[in-house]
Symmetry: C2
Subunit: 481 residues, 2 copies
């Protein structure tokens, strides 16, 4: 068996390397090797990365000493997963409050910091990302490799249609495009008038590849129409997305593909995890995302115990950097929700996958009659039905002693015109499909198209009436207020 390409700690990449133009893989060995052999290499690397972090910063040393964990204990993936405590975003914020501005998990000298980025919230303390000079190159190498896997090639124009500021998505795409030998076109987004200019430049430059968020791609397509242009004429071949789950949401995904007549790829874990394309689709495995385990090690875990769940089950991804020296994240809890699989991939890469992408946040989960329900599962069911009108609400209420789930679902104008019998058939179809996925009986109400206002992809779709019910019930009890 050949050795894994450029596999060393700390990473050392040849900046001039490019694969054979005919190769599907940037690093054929690393991408298609026996998973057991890769895992053995990852165990060794985890020991190296953890030893480095333990030596280089207070954050991990203090945290691990307290937990009784030491890098020398790692002899298997299970050792690592059971003994090494997880890190949360709150831990990072606390560390930056304690040791401003970069936190006591910066493992290189401050003079090595190459770029500063951060979270862009307006309330509370933002998190600062300090990315080392070498790490910027490692991120660029990883992203170039994964973008190659999407079919992007040297010389392609890569149009970057996301704001270039604190947000790491656009910068990661840019670094990858540069390293790949593409023509990077960092157009950005966000300022007034930029969308009109973007569609004019897209029509003029005809880029082969496009990066942005799904919602902005759809907005640009609408802007094109207003400007007398058609997104399908831009000649874009490949579109890759992060920042929102849309590119893995059936319905949204197909709409983008149809509007641009382009292949759509989802990617992106978390800004903290840059190279965030550690989870990403490939040209032949275009739905969902692969877990590029030799870039970052992904475990999909139970959201309470943070123990790895078996393939085929859902949980929250927990990520570990294998190639970062500046702010390495070791067992960072994403809080996202995904189902993972170890089925063979169409592209031949021997990685596990997230076949439905990231489909929610563990915080969104609610419990009804003892069953855990994620609103995104209901989204996915509805988006798979042709007569679904595009919006719905989930109302949780209490009738008698039982929680009840009521789905209020818009239908298409087409179905609406076909009369009561067709609507009733759709109602039953929804109820059956939801019961199958959730294992729960659900009340379904069908509504005319356009009942709910369209805002954005983060529409608040869950209405929980149980608290109101409980408060009322309490007041009615003897001795209640």
């Amino acid at each position: 068996m050949s050795t894994m390409e450029a596999w060393s700690w700390p990473p050392r990449y040849d900046p001039a390397y490019r694969p054979d133009p005919a190769s599907r893989y940037w690093f054929p060995v690393r991408e298609t090797m026996d998973p057991g052999a890769r895992d053995a290499a990852i165990v060794q690397r985890l020991r190296e990365v953890c030893a480095y972090a333990y030596q280089s910063c207070d954050f991990y040393r203090d945290k691990w000493d307290e937990a009784g964990f030491h890098p020398s204990q790692i002899h298997s993936l299970e050792d690592f997963e059971r003994r090494c405590p997880v890190v949360t975003k709150a831990d990072l914020r606390a560390a930056q409050h304690r040791a401003p501005p970069f936190g006591d998990y910066l493992c290189v000298a401050e003079s090595e910091v190459h770029h500063i980025h951060g979270t862009s919230g307006t309330t509370g303390r933002p998190t600062v990302f300090a990315i080392g000079r070498d790490d910027w190159q490692h991120i660029a190498n990883a992203h170039a490799r994964i973008m190659w896997g999407m079919g992007i090639r040297p010389g392609d124009i890569v149009f970057i249609a996301a704001i270039l500021s604190l947000y790491m998505g656009s910068w990661g795409a840019l670094a990858g495009a540069e390293r790949l030998g593409a023509k990077a076109f960092p157009f950005g987004a966000g300022a007034p008038g930029m969308s009109v200019r973007a569609v004019q430049w897209l029509a003029m430059m005809r880029p082969q590849a496009f990066y942005g968020t799904p919602s902005y791609a759809l907005y640009l397509a609408e802007t094109a129409i207003q400007e007398g242009l058609n997104a399908a004429d831009f000649g874009i071949q490949r579109m890759f997305f992060s920042g929102e789950p849309g590119a893995s949401v059936p319905g949204v995904r197909e709409r983008i593909q149809a509007t641009y007549r382009a292949a759509v790829f989802d990617c992106g874990s978390m800004a903290e995890m840059s190279p965030f394309m550690n989870i990403a689709a490939s040209a032949e495995s275009a739905t969902g995302m692969l877990c590029w385990q030799d870039v970052c090690y992904t475990e999909v875990c139970d959201p309470q115990s943070f123990e790895r769940v078996p393939y085929g089950q859902r949980g929250t991804p927990v990520y570990t950097h294998l190639e970062r020296t500046s702010q390495p994240m070791i067992r960072l809890v994403s809080g996202d929700l995904a189902l993972w699989s170890n089925d063979p991939t169409a592209c031949g890469r021997t990685y596990p996958s997230l076949p439905q992408g990231i489909f929610g946040r563990i915080d969104d989960m609610f419990t009804i009659r003892g069953e855990n329900v994620y609103p995104s599962e209901i989204d996915a069911v509805l988006n798979g039905l042709v007569s679904y009108g595009g919006e719905h609400r989930i109302v949780i209420s209490r009738a008698g002693q039982m929680d009840e789930l009521l789905l209020r679902v818009e239908v298409t104008a087409d179905l609406d015109a076909r009369g009561p019998a067709a609507l009733e058939r759709f109602r039953q179809q929804v109820a059956a499909a939801v019961q199958k996925v959730l294992g729960l009986r659900t009340l379904v109400e069908v509504l005319p198209p356009g009942t709910y206002a369209r805002t954005d992809f983060k529409a608040r779709r869950v209405i929980d009436d149980r608290d109101a019910f409980r408060e009322m019930a309490q007041r009615l009890q003897p001795g209640g207020g």
Copy 2:
């Protein structure tokens, strides 16, 4: 005499080079050498660059064949200046219309294009900048060197507060900061809410250096006050500006210095000329700008004949790239207006300088009683007077057979309160100061503070009433309409 550092065609820079930390100069020889010896090196380089351009693209070959110019004719700066025809922005637009998208002045293979940027106008065909992979590094090297000259050092945080999109200013500052070994913080600008976030991050990160436009720096200082912050507390030491002439305009410059308690440096020729910091201030020569002749060769020329004017005179800068291979600009007419000087510089660099920076556009010139007048000259005179209220209008009219210049000038509230005698003294002071600079008698009217609405730095200050007068006079003539 030592050899000029990294002086070769095509350029080859050592990406790891940094000067001695104590050195004022990045390249001591190139920056302080005998100007005659430098000019001799530039003559040789012009011959090489022109031979390269002649061989590599239709644009220059066709243009020069038609003009009877050939690179082999260059044996002196004068040969080059007299024989080589100038290029205008209209020539570039026509070339891109003829050979889209990059124009037939792209001198490298399309596959070598690393970044695409462009002009950001919304009307007419924009100009596309195609910057080659090697050129991006040459630009970064030149900018790092010039930013070193401003006193920016490795490890400094460089906060970039200008939009990251088509605009080259922010990208040039970023490339320079990265190459210098600074901590680049490409915050950007332009999207709603970004100014509030910018001042929060400035207060939190306390960057050593700031890049933006002068007007945006002043706007951020106002935003800081609204957020309960003070720009003077950000701890910024050095601010460098391009995109607007404000950093060389007395009054604006001092206002920024006082608001931020920071040193202010002007820089920037034209986006097409990237490395656009080819004209830039230095730490010890902080007012105006030096012409870094070994980066780009600058001639200040008569706006009609495009012949170099003597030092001490004003004209329009004409620039020639000495280190670009992708879209080299050879005698590109800026259309800007500057006065140049060959006086010794405070920093010891043996470059000519533009002591007042860029102070207008040749298109803004008007002629009155045979004298060429640039509104910016009047701006500069007024901004130098302590009782000037910050706004004025220039009214050109015709009384009898003579053109008349009327200056309507706001005074400060302070002067306004001091009564008629003080106002009359100021009126006479303005008239004398303007007469001295323009060689023209001028009517001056003083006005209370706040007479004119404040819009932005590009306020329309010239009102030419002569056309109305002429039309009226024509109608009054026998046989007139």
